[in-house]
């Protein structure tokens, strides 16, 4: 069997294992879904009137704020889902079965690839669920073509891939699930410091560059552009660059950590 078929076969076995875990114990995934859904409802129904006054054409219109909010929350859902990845990777590494995998003639990276593939699938499903809630409370895309939808989906997968590899690395360096959950916290806090809830223009001047160039803002602005027809500009390539950069970085970090002697 060639290295590539071995890698593909073992990785898909590991993916099945992770999906089995997720199906058997859905509570972790569902709990993590609560955060973005709660925030969506909170910002739309509690803060919505006040916040919508500050954007768009002015005048309190909740539906405009829903449109503004949803792209950011969809990407925040990804951040939230991958916290679960960090936790399950950290949990997994404390299990004896990982030592067993290391003594078997399987493709070495398959353990991590299985986690990553499972996590990307979960992210996509979570985003679809949160998206459904958003549509239920009145979110509608404006003028998005099929190509726009496909591009949005591609961005979503790429963004999930990037955050997942980082989360896997965080899970690997964490001694236990609690530490992993704490270490991965920035992935759900970062959207609060982006253009997800309020435009970057409305932030203090010294903070604007940080908010503008951190990974979430370009991805959110790109998604907004694709779904709502707003200007994408430089955000498009910036988002792709961030995603590719984080994926490569997370991949190298994770595999190096995983291949170190276990003691």
């Amino acid at each position: 069997m060639s290295t590539l078929t071995l890698a593909a076969r073992d990785s898909s076995t590991m993916l099945r294992r992770n999906l089995l875990h997720a199906r058997r114990y859905p509570s972790l995934t569902l709990n993590l879904l609560l955060t973005p859904i709660m925030l969506l409802l909170l910002f739309v129904y509690i803060f919505g009137d006040a916040l919508s006054a500050g954007i768009g054409d002015g005048g309190p219109d909740r539906s405009q704020y829903i449109a503004y909010l949803v792209p950011g929350l969809l990407l925040m859902t990804v951040g939230s889902t991958v916290i679960g990845t960090a936790v399950s990777v950290a949990n997994d590494m404390t299990e004896g079965i990982i030592a067993r995998f290391r003594t078997m003639a399987i493709h070495r990276g398959s353990v991590l690839v299985g986690h990553v593939a499972g996590s990307v699938l979960q992210s996509v499903m979570s985003v679809i669920l949160v998206g459904a809630v958003a549509v239920a409370i009145g979110f509608r895309s404006t003028g998005a073509t099929t190509v726009d939808w496909l591009a949005a989906f591609g961005l979503l997968v790429l963004f999930s891939l990037a955050l997942t590899w980082i989360a896997v690395g965080m899970g690997l360096v964490s001694p236990n699930a609690e530490a992993a959950s704490n270490n991965a916290m920035p992935l759900i806090l970062l959207p609060l410091l982006s253009s997800a809830f309020v435009p970057v223009d409305s932030m203090p001047g010294w903070f604007q560059p940080i908010a503008e160039y951190q990974p979430f803002t370009p991805a959110i602005e790109t998604l907004r552009g694709l779904l709502l027809g707003s200007e994408i500009g430089h955000h498009g390539w910036l988002a792709v660059a961030w995603c590719l950069g984080l994926s490569v970085l997370g991949y190298l970090w994770s595999t190096a950590t995983f291949n170190r002697d276990s003691k």
Partner: protein, 321 residues
Amino acid sequence: MTNLAIAAHGLRKSYGDKVVLDGVDLAVAEGTIFSLLGPNGAGKTTTVQILSTLISAGPTSGDIRVGGHDLATDPQAVRRTIGVTGQFSAVDGLITGEENMLLMADLYHLSPGAGRRVTADLLERFDLVDAAKKPASTYSGGMKRRLDLAMTLVGGPRIIFLDEPTTGLDPRSRHNMWQIIRDLVADGVTVFLTTQYLEEADELADRIAVLTDGRIAAEGTAEELKRLIPGGHVRLRFDDPAAYARASGALRETVRDDQALTLRIPSDGTQRELHVILGRLDAASVHADTLTVHTPDLDDVFFALTGGAAGITDKPKETVR
């Protein structure tokens, strides 16, 4: 000697300044049970971890071959020949026993049909059929260990490493595990077993190496090791301190334990020697409340070689040495 399943020369490993293995030589013949015996912290687990490719050997180690393959240059070939059941159970607790087995079948690249067949056979053989559909995390210690070993066997390994396979098991489960290990070797498999139980090594192993402080202190069959140590004795215990004192006066070469009112007399346990001892006691008209004969066992060897690792055995034994 036939072909060697495991051949290691000058196995070394240190973590910083701490030397864990300091030049261990091992030669394990195919189709035998080899036991690495030693107290906690002697380096048993580290040895298994290195031989099973889990961690790398120290840079100054000599040539190490497992199943004929060089450990350093071709670890994947080694992995194809071995199976490992570690000290801490290597099962996936979140999925069922059967799913664990099927996972292994997939990773050993068996066809789906063969995977199901092997799974069914092994679950049956290891008495896990009733528990097959339950999550492995709900299994008892003995069941987990059996599942663990069953998973190791899915790939049909020729060399099996068992790191303290019965630690923490109740006596019944321990005896079950022993029988399973004997059956494995009957099939021609080589077993490398670590244990801290002398009884276990004595019971199972063809050859035993005593590991202490990262070195092999002695190696041989259980009989050979026992011959290293003269240790047979007769033990007399008294309830009455006066009788104890009289007996102590009547017998020669005794080792006294005044607290326990026990005398130990070196002896090979033959009828003639017992006769002499009993004759002396009769002559002094004392009656021992219990009389026991001890032939040297691996305990004696173990304590002599490892410098009496305190706290494992009963105290009176140590006072003798």
